[in-house]
């Protein structure tokens, strides 16, 4: 009887040990996969998500296009850069670009909605869509502008810069199709106009910022078939994250006012079949 009890006791201890070992082995490998999951409670995107078939730069079959939506700018596609396993720029104080831009996006979204825009986000939580997936989300919308949000690791802290894509070779075909890898080419003029407006409002709020948008070969912008800008805020090197958080309302306001000022000047062809 006593022996049976001993054997039972030892078996229970043995099982516990196996469970402990399994736990020890599984827990380190779980951490990265958890990080890739969207933040809990993140709302489903309010937007018509870009369907895989809408990946073409033409974007003429988007839900908005077929609904005969009024022509003109009414959607802003917000792209909080990085995410998931890509934290973007990292500061010494543990500040991660991917987290801050997501918080900024919430405020920018609110400011844009107050101006009457519909907002579509390329990511809602801590995931990392590819550059092409993010562009596809934007390219699936009719009458949209695209804003990608970044925090730099250099530059004068407390300033913000707007970038538009560098010049791309003009489109040389008459088919009416835009090559995916140069989707931004026909929109460069519009992007510059939109970028200058946003940069102007940013410069009023954040002293030391340039007064006009600059051009750079930003990968995200190249495949975007819409007026598209990158807004980069300096920088992750600040000691306290609150210094960056304090900039969010100003950045949100500048983007919303810039989009509102740009709206009357952007006429989207509304003829069915016309691009976009």
């Amino acid at each position: 009887m006593k022996n049976t009890f001993q054997i039972k006791l030892v078996s229970v201890i043995g099982l516990l040990c196996v469970a402990l070992l399994a736990g020890a082995l599984i827990s380190p490998s779980q951490t990265p996969s958890q990080a890739q999951q969207p933040a809990p409670g993140s709302p489903a995107t309010t937007s018509p998500a870009a369907s895989p078939t809408a990946g073409g730069a033409t974007g003429s079959t988007s839900a908005f296009g077929t609904q005969g939506q009024q022509s003109g700018l009414n959607i802003v596609v917000l792209d909080p850069a990085h995410g998931g396993t890509d934290p973007g720029a990292r500061g010494t104080g543990g500040i991660r670009e991917s987290e801050i831009v997501l918080d900024f996006a919430v405020q920018v979204r609110r400011a844009l909605e107050l101006q009457g825009f519909q907002v579509v986000q390329t990511r809602q939580g801590n995931e990392n869509p590819s550059f092409d997936d993010r562009s596809a989300t934007g390219n699936a919308q009719r009458g949209a502008v695209f804003v990608t949000l970044h925090i730099s690791s250099t530059g004068l802290p407390g300033t913000a810069r707007v970038y538009v894509n560098s010049d791309l070779p003009p489109l040389g075909n008459a088919s009416g199709l835009i090559p995916w890898d140069r989707a931004q080419a026909p929109f460069l003029g519009l992007s510059k106009a939109f970028g200058n407006l946003v940069q102007g409002f940013l410069a009023q709020r954040f002293k030391g910022s340039p007064d006009t948008a600059q051009s750079a070969s930003v990968r995200q912008l190249r495949t975007t078939a819409a007026p598209a800008i990158a807004v980069e805020i300096s920088s992750v090197t600040v000691e306290d994250r609150a210094d960056l958080d304090r900039m969010a309302p100003g950045v949100a306001d500048a983007i919303a006012r810039g989009a509102a000022a740009f709206k009357p000047s952007y006429i989207v062809p509304s003829t069915p079949g016309a691009l976009p």
Binding site: G14, L20, L168, P169, A174, I178, P186, P210, S234, I267
Partner: protein, 248 residues
């Protein structure tokens, strides 16, 4: 099999399981560290094979313009003139000026490229397209951001433009591979225009290295943004596409 024998067997197994639970994570860490060390030594071996081209003192000393940051806070480039014996061969000359650029200025804060980055190879095609292959450190050690990545590429293209007129376009590779971006922002899939007077290659994305070099003017921040008065439309209406095509 006596019960006490069973007890000791199970006890031994329990101890072994415990031991494994403690030892396994340590072993994993060691394996990871060993893999990292091996990677580093491969990179080291490659670097030793591709030692920077020694400057030949017999070459004529010429004034070389190297572009570094003008000020640690400001995101602008400024040329620094140094006298170097440079080869007349465009490939050797490019290697010499790029190695000088990589070596960095006296003030380390004014560097544009990470100190551990190196030039692995440099080729010049007959059409004026240069291919510069940098070590992985260029992508991994550079501060991530549009402004810092653009400064890095601009310093390379402008230094080549100022010293090697044969180079018209530049393609940047990282460790022999084409990469999508330098460090998450700047597009490296196309070629950068080095000599702006030369026509761009048609049909390929050709990011130009330009424009952040303008200093930000604080005075200009007072200006109100001018609204765009003219009505703008996307310039790819069918008629306009036709015009584009008819260009020579």
């Amino acid at each position: 099999m006596t019960p006490s024998w069973k007890f000791w067997l199970i006890g031994g197994l329990v101890v072994a399981v415990f031991g494994a639970a403690i030892y396994f994570p340590i072993l994993r860490r060691r394996v990871k560290r060993a893999a990292r060390l091996q990677q580093q030594s491969e990179e080291q071996a490659r670097r030793e094979l591709t030692q920077p081209i020694a400057i030949n003192p017999g070459d004529p000393r010429v004034k070389t313009k190297v572009f570094w940051v003008s000020d640690a806070i400001d995101s602008t480039l400024a040329p620094v003139t140094v006298e170097l014996p440079l080869s007349n061969d465009p490939v050797l000359r490019s290697k010499q000026v790029l190695n000088t650029l990589l070596a960095g200025p006296v003030d380390a804060e004014l560097r544009t490229l990470p100190p551990d980055a190196s030039l692995l190879a440099f080729y010049l095609l007959p059409d004026g397209t240069a291919i510069a292959d940098f070590s992985e450190a260029l992508a991994t050690s550079i501060p991530s951001g549009i402004v810092s990545e653009q400064l890095a590429v601009n310093s390379i293209t402008r230094t080549l433009e100022a010293n090697v007129p044969q180079v018209q376009r530049l393609k940047i590779l990282i460790h022999g591979q084409e990469v999508e971006t330098l460090a998450g922002h700047l597009d490296l899939t196309g070629t950068f225009v080095v000599n702006t007077k030369v026509a761009q290659e048609p049909g390929k994305p050709t990011p130009t290295a330009s424009s952040t070099d303008k200093p930000a003017s604080p005075a200009a921040a007072e200006k109100t943004p001018t609204p765009v008065l003219a009505t703008l439309t996307a310039d790819y209406a069918p008629g306009k596409l036709g015009q584009t095509e008819s260009r020579p």
